[in-house]
């Protein structure tokens, strides 16, 4: 097919006038049955490179994509053009997915989007061995590479598959973010004469700025004072979930419509916020970097980082989510040279568990075929570490996945090699170097966009003319006015962290803590009373907790106050709850008891072990008292929330109408010692 012929079809089917030269170059290679890696910036039109040939092939084109929202958008657009496209994903019902599967088997689907995780699904594999497949596309191909910013173990099986496909079977891998090293790695993994095509990654509507600060307070104050001066709506990225909560509360306090978004929120809440983002319901959404990838909103006007990302490629990827419409967009990065490096450092250093933990998991699997849950419980490792170790052991061919009655389990491979731990050290060294480059970005004396493009391997030589360096408008000092300091103090006294409990499974509602543990004096006061025989919690804590209760629960009326019975003896929480009940004039009961001895929750490293520890360990001595009651449930420290969840489940079972948790302090990332 010549380009002219193809463009006639393009006009008829896609209603587009013509291909870019690069697009056509890719398409020609696909028609020749070649393997291509295409690196082009977001919004370039990468998808046309496979959608067009897909419509010309006899069978189905399969696209692996990790972003469900993006899949859905593309499917809808293709359907509007009359092209038979579908996606199989975990958000759809089994019936929907099955219908698509049977359509695919009948060769009714031209373009089929699936998530990489599907490769672990027996039904999909059965389907894949029956449908007529014409081409394979690997979207977000940087996820293949451990050297990239977003490695995903689920891509491993795609790489395996690609290695087993015929040499003349067309394969297209696409990404918007790949350094030269990642590009090379992807090419090696996709193998067999793959060629790469790299576009220009410059985004000329980006206005890049760095603001160096001396304290966290300066970030709060600058944001509070300036956010409303930005046009449109935007995102603020924080380094942690609790910081997302705190910043969002602060902005709200300062009168700026904001909301926090992170992984602790339940699915429905997250979906609602995503929808709100599209509808511009808030000036800004404060989020961990989980938000924004795959959300098709062209007019996000600003992206602010309160915390330095791990590498320039992380940064480029995250800021790339805004300004897809090509209009003026601000990117601001805060940096406190004293402490901001700690978080990414901790993240890099903690990304791989220690060698003995790998050995622990390996030895468990050597003895018995086990699943992820079995391993978590048997090893007492965190779910995150367990998952990382399993993925690495599979990657290094020490264990393999197997299916027992449809459930994934892991078995040791006979003659398995020794764990190559040195590789992890190399990986860490590489990531530390990347972090150093990110710090260099702060101090760069050249154009910031050029810095990023150079880092990505883009041979772009001009300056953007829009960043703070090019315009010599670097903000060197944040002005801190007395009124803002006061405002911030006031906020801190009134900022009560929300405890996310709401779910369909129990009548627990979202609770509140009077403070963050470690954020103010509260933590040390609790510590003194609890671990250094400091006596009852002082009245100032009672007052603070009452403030939190009033602000969070408002006019909600309670019938009964209960407290979480302690693991070890002591009446601290009980006495505290009695005081609260006296102030609020609500009936107090100590009928909730522990009926079996449990271990302190803090010794367990994952929620499954914590749950098992407290499961069925509570008893209410006077069951009739609970039915249809609204209960205020009091505890001192909120950590994983597993104990409160278990009590909530139990009281729901007894007929409680509502259970409202109220605690003195919430830990930040499990920092209780």
């Amino acid at each position: 097919m010549t380009r002219t012929e193809a463009e006639v079809i393009l006009k008829r089917v896609f209603k587009l006038e013509g291909f870019y030269d690069t697009q056509w170059a890719v398409i020609e290679k696909i028609f020749k049955g070649e393997r291509i890696l295409l690196i082009e910036k977001t919004g370039y039109g990468k998808s046309l490179c496979f959608q067009f040939p897909a419509t010309q092939f006899e069978g189905t084109t399969i696209i692996f994509s990790p972003l469900i929202a993006l899949m859905r958008d593309q499917v809808n657009k293709l359907k509007q053009l009359g092209i038979n496209a579908s996606c199989i994903n975990s958000n759809q019902t089994l019936n929907e997915n099955n219908r698509i599967i049977s359509d695919a088997k009948e060769n009714k689907i031209k373009i089929l989007y699936i998530a990489p995780e599907r490769m672990e699904n027996a039904e999909w594999l059965e389907t894949a061995s029956q449908i007529k497949i014409s081409m394979l596309v690997v979207d977000e191909a940087h996820c293949i590479s451990m050297w990239g910013h977003d490695f995903r173990p689920s891509y491993r099986r795609i790489v395996n598959l690609v290695g087993l496909l015929p040499a003349k079977f067309p394969i297209l891998a696409t990404t918007a973010t790949a350094t030269l090293k990642v590009e090379e790695d992807i090419k090696v993994q996709i193998g067999k004469n793959v060629s790469s095509i790299r576009g220009n990654l410059l985004r000329n509507n980006f206005h890049l700025n760095v603001i160096e600060v001396k304290s966290e307070d300066e970030k709060y104050i600058w944001l509070g004072r300036n956010i409303n001066r930005f046009e449109g709506n935007g995102l603020i990225y924080t380094g942690t979930r609790s910081n997302a909560e705190i910043y969002a509360s602060w902005l709200e306090f300062a009168g700026i419509p904001s909301v926090a978004y992170h992984g602790d929120l339940d699915g429905a809440t997250r979906k609602n916020i995503e929808k709100g983002l599209i509808e511009n319901r808030w000036k800004c959404i404060v989020s961990t970097n989980a938000l924004g990838m795959g959300i098709d909103k062209p007019d996000i006007r600003f992206i602010i980082h309160t915390q330095i990302p791990q590498s320039p490629i992380h940064y480029y990827q995250e800021i790339g989510r805004a300004g897809r419409d090509g209009k003026k967009t601000y990117k601001i990065l805060f940096y406190n040279s004293v402490e901001d490096i700690d978080l990414p450092l901790a993240f890099i250093n903690g990304s791989k568990p220690s060698l003995d933990k790998y050995d622990k998991i390996t030895n468990l699997i050597k003895k018995k075929i086990m699943g992820e849950t079995d391993l978590m419980l048997a090893s007492n490792l965190s779910s995150m570490q367990t998952r990382v170790i399993i993925a690495d052991l599979i990657e290094q061919k020490i264990i393999n996945e197997t299916f027992v009655r449809g459930k994934a389990k892991f078995e040791y491979r006979f003659l398995a090699p020794k764990l190559n731990y040195k590789f992890f050290e190399e990986l860490r060294d590489a990531k530390l170097k990347e972090l150093a480059q990110m710090i260099e970005y702060i101090d760069t004396k050249t154009c910031r966009m050029k810095f990023l493009c150079d880092y990505l391997g883009d041979k772009y030589s001009e300056n953007c003319g829009k960043c703070d360096v090019d315009n010599d408008k670097i903000i060197k000092k944040v002005i801190v006015q007395e009124e803002w300091i006061k405002k911030l103090e006031q906020f801190r006294l009134n900022n009560f962290p929300i405890l996310h409990f709401q779910s369909k499974d129990s009548n627990l509602i979202n609770g509140v803590a009077a403070s963050y543990y470690g954020f103010s004096k509260v933590g040390s006061t609790i510590h003194k009373c609890k671990y250094e025989n400091g006596g009852d919690f002082p009245d100032e804590l009672v007052q603070l907790v009452l403030d939190a209760e009033r602000k969070h629960y408002g006019d909600l009326k309670f019938d009964l106050i209960l407290y979480v019975p302690p693991t070890e003896s002591g009446d601290l929480v009980k006495n505290f709850a009695i005081k609260i009940s006296e102030y609020l004039n609500i009936k107090f009961s100590n009928a909730l008891i522990k009926c079996i001895k449990t271990q302190p929750q803090k010794i367990f490293q994952n929620h499954l072990a914590k749950m098992r520890n407290v499961s069925d360990s509570f008893l209410y001595l006077n069951i009739e008292e609970i039915k249809d009651k609204s209960i205020l449930l009091i505890d001192d420290i909120y950590d994983s929330g597993t104990t409160i969840k278990e009590i909530g489940r139990y009281l729901t079972l007894l007929g409680a109408k509502l259970i409202a948790p109220l605690v003195i302090a919430k830990t930040v990332g499990g920092n209780i010692k």
């Binding site: 490769m119 594999l125 059965e126 894949a128 061995s129 029956q130 449908i131 007529k132 497949i133 099986r157 395996n160 598959l161 290695g163 087993l164 496909l165 015929p166 040499a167 003349k168 079977f169 067999k192 050597k366 003895k367 018995k368 075929i369 393999n400 996945e401 197997t402 299916f403 027992v404 009655r405 078995e411 040791y412 491979r413 006979f414 003659l415």
Partner: protein, 381 residues
Amino acid sequence: MTMSEIPYWIGLTQLNGWKIEKINKLIVNIIHDNKISLEEFFSLSLTEWNEKYLLQENDIEGLLNLKKEIPNFSFLTEELLSQGFEIITINSEEYSATLKNNLKLKHSPPVLYVKGNKKILNEKSIAIVGSRDASEISLKFTDNIAKLASEQFKVVVSGFAKGVDRQALDSAIKYIGHSVIVLPQGVLTFSSGIRQYYQEIVRGDLLVLSTFFPKAPWSVQLAMARNPIIYGLADEIYVAQSDEKGGTWAGVSDGLRKGRTIYVRYPEQEEQNANRKLIEKGAIAVDFDGKIKEGQLNDISKLDKEEEIKSIIYGLLKGKELTSAEIIKRTNIDWKPKKMSDFLKSLNDIQEIKGKRIKYRYKTEDEPQLFIGEPQEKYGK
């Protein structure tokens, strides 16, 4: 061999209507004679297929269809490999030399699907076979033979059926020997068995092997088709107990006709099984320790004597045509030519060849299906 060859190998075994010999001959032609890979073969032109490989229209059509399905086999291969299975092809050094030697190009499966210690495939081996509901003494014999084999570092090959098969496997494990399970199904449908024998696999004492399509479920046909693989993998074959019909009987009778040495447990006087019959057919009687029993046929009746002569003649006439006199001369049987001719005429398996002198030969076309017929490997995907 590169990994990307595997989907082609699996694909070839799934060609509709192709017998193993035909597949193997094509493979030899491609890899051995022409020194190219399967992938390269599949990218040749139809003319080359026709001229260089002498493929006819029918075959070419089948191969063309297969070529389109290779990506599907790539998915299957990925599934197998990621679940820790390995694929051993007939041209590989890892392929069992014993199997190839016993089954030849005509019946050797092109592809073995395995999990575990592959080295086991090239160790000295014995098979212990017998019925699903074997008597206690047969099971004890099985246990003893497995013990002796394990002590002599011989691999015990068995078929994972009830009775003698399982006894052979469990005893080999008990005596910390090596063993091979030959599955009557595809490897991907055997996860519960793998879980059961996980420790032995991890230790390297056990190899799980199947020659069938990886997703094929257990079936009677596969169980039958698996028997020749068990016999083929073994250097020595021991029969613990056979009935007068069924898999063991058919397998051993067939093996005897093929000239394999087969050891049968010499039964007690009161035993109701067909062990004695097999010995009469030419199997070698062994005692509890697998030692050959001398003078085993002294006490047998006239009828049994005729059975013995029959099996000797069968062995002699395999691939040869001889007159009655020649047969008498070669076997030293104390019969007149007339008696021999009458006897030969009474045998269904012997064919008379008219001529100046009447000759006799063994009828090959009536052989039972086990060794001649192809294992039923073709399964609808």
